[in-house]
């Protein structure tokens, strides 16, 4: 492929991927009363409406809270699973991998329904966040697992042995040698977990308690009865938030990721 042609080709792909997002962002600055494109005049009117909408604000807080918890829990379990998978699984390696990736292969709605049955049959119900968190951890786990095990593959087990010969116990070996060296994978996996959890609809919809709402659910709910640019403002904020997480982590931790 000639170079100019290739450039144009890439531009088209990007345009195709990003155009819907651009449309939403532009539509959010609409001054008119209805969600239309192109917008009728520009204003921050709908952002003010959104920021003063207590229902949406509560939904955002719930979503951030769930996403953070999910990221931490999924990060820990996924990292441990990846460590086991790479260093100790032996003959079970393929089985462990398939089992860990299973949530990706199953339709999300099936996972959600079975979890719903499960939380009620063990008496947890949906009035607390436990069921919801379990669901989110379940579907984000494969992403942590994939990222961490990928960075584990380039981890030389001799590094741990060397640390051990120098007098480091199990915990020190993990904290001072393995963790810093697999950090890019761990951070990448956690970011995935956070963003996916923030974004997920089906699982949250099934496992939410009465009166509880995450941002995607609230948005869905809102669009059933309203068609104002407020929805676009909510979406834009959601996009900005997700991107902020990625950019900030890259800035704060990225320097270290590219250290070697």
């Amino acid at each position: 492929m000639s170079k100019p042609f290739f450039t144009v080709y890439c531009l088209i792909i990007y345009a195709f991927l990003l155009a819907p997002i651009a449309v939403v962002v532009i539509a959010s600055f609409n001054a008119g009363a209805f969600l239309t494109f192109p917008p009728q005049g520009l204003s921050f009117r709908w952002y003010l409406v959104f920021f003063n909408n207590e229902v949406f604000m509560r939904a955002i807080r719930t979503s951030l809270w769930i996403a953070t918890l999910t990221m931490v829990i999924s990060g820990i379990i996924g990292t441990m699973a990846a460590m086991f998978y790479v260093t100790h699984a032996g003959k079970l390696k393929e089985t462990v991998r398939v089992a860990m990736l299973a949530p990706l292969l199953l339709p999300e709605v099936l996972t959600a329904i079975s979890l719903l049955f499960f939380v009620y049959s063990v008496g947890l119900g949906t009035q607390n966040l436990v069921g919801m968190i379990v669901g989110h951890v379940l579907i984000t786990l494969p992403f942590v697992f994939i990222n961490v095990s990928a960075s584990m593959e380039s981890y030389d087990p001799a590094w741990s042995l060397a640390a051990q010969s120098l007098g480091a116990g199990r915990f020190t070996r993990f904290r001072r040698i393995m963790l810093p060296l697999i950090k890019p994978g761990v951070i990448g996996g956690c970011l995935f977990a956070f963003i996916i959890s923030f974004d997920v609809f089906t699982i949250s919809f099934m496992l939410k308690g009465v009166g509880m709402s995450t941002l995607p659910i609230q948005l869905f709910d809102y669009l059933r009865t309203n068609f104002t640019p407020e929805a676009a403002a909510v979406s834009t904020c959601s996009i900005v938030l997700t991107m902020a997480v990625v950019v900030i982590s890259e800035k704060v931790l990225g320097l270290r990721i590219h250290r070697f």
């Binding site: 001799a158 042995l161 060397a162 051990q164 010969s165 120098l166 007098g167 070697f260």
Partner: protein
Amino acid sequence: MTEVSIEKLTKDYGQGPAVNSISIRIAEGEFISLLGPSGCGKTTTLKMIAGFEDATEGAIRFDGRDVVHVPVEKRDIGMVFQNYALFPHMTVEKNLAFGLEMRKLPKGEIRTRIAKVLDMVQLTGYSERYPRQLSGGQQQRVALARALVIEPKILLLDEPLANLDAKLREEMRVFIRDLQRRVGITTVYVTHDQAEAMTMSDRVVVMFGGRIAQIGTPSDIYERPANLEVAEFVGQVNIIRGKVGNRVVSTAFGDVPVSGDFADGAELMLALRPEAVELLPINSGSTGAPAKVLSSYYSGSLVDYRLELATGAVVNVQTFPRTRFADGEQVLVHAPSDRFWPLGTVA
């Protein structure tokens, strides 16, 4: 300095012993090599001394204290790995400091020790470099320094020169040996390279199939091999056969007196190293067996000949290139009778 004593050490992974009841006494400050082909159990033995593998049976004593149940991190060993295993996210200084921090030494002492060891391995000024910014030989020296700076009881090296190119490998042999002598640390060195084992060690332990075939000084191993396997593994060797009669073996080279109890009429194998044989012009009037030059390989300082004796046996001979013989030329071969070493009777 530490004396290491290995007693009836056995490792069995479940498919027969990988290391079969071996015993070695390593004196204080001694440099011992474990030499053998891959799968002979030398690395498993090293891992058991280090503590990375549990011994199925037997004892490992450091100065009389059995350490079999002491975990690696408490065993106070210094280990150099085949691929160096330097921590890639740490500078040279941090790599060296790691073991000292584990021992909770004060900062000042850590700094002094690092400066001293860097000087010892001739890497002063490299403390801020990352391992990837160093050449193979420099990484090797950092790995050595990291193992030595903690002043361990015993230094263990697992084929540390295998990844270096030939010239550097020879330099490092001398470097490691000199350093070991200066520090005076008891050292166990695993290698499959007989030249490495010979040039560096006080004593060599030759292992085959999980057992010790011979323990001895490099000259014991080379000149007085315990059996055919050892003779063939360490350097080149000609196996000369002959019948025993009256404490003398009659060979193509003439009669060779042998000491030892061999029954008359038994067929004996004698080891004869290529450089022990002299080549003489056919008309020199000396004693010797006539032979024909099949081929010769000139390597600068030495020439290797393949010769065919009158009996049809092929003999390899190594000489200085002062006198050259052409392919196909008739020559006389002569070997002093004390250069033959009996390896036992033909089975």
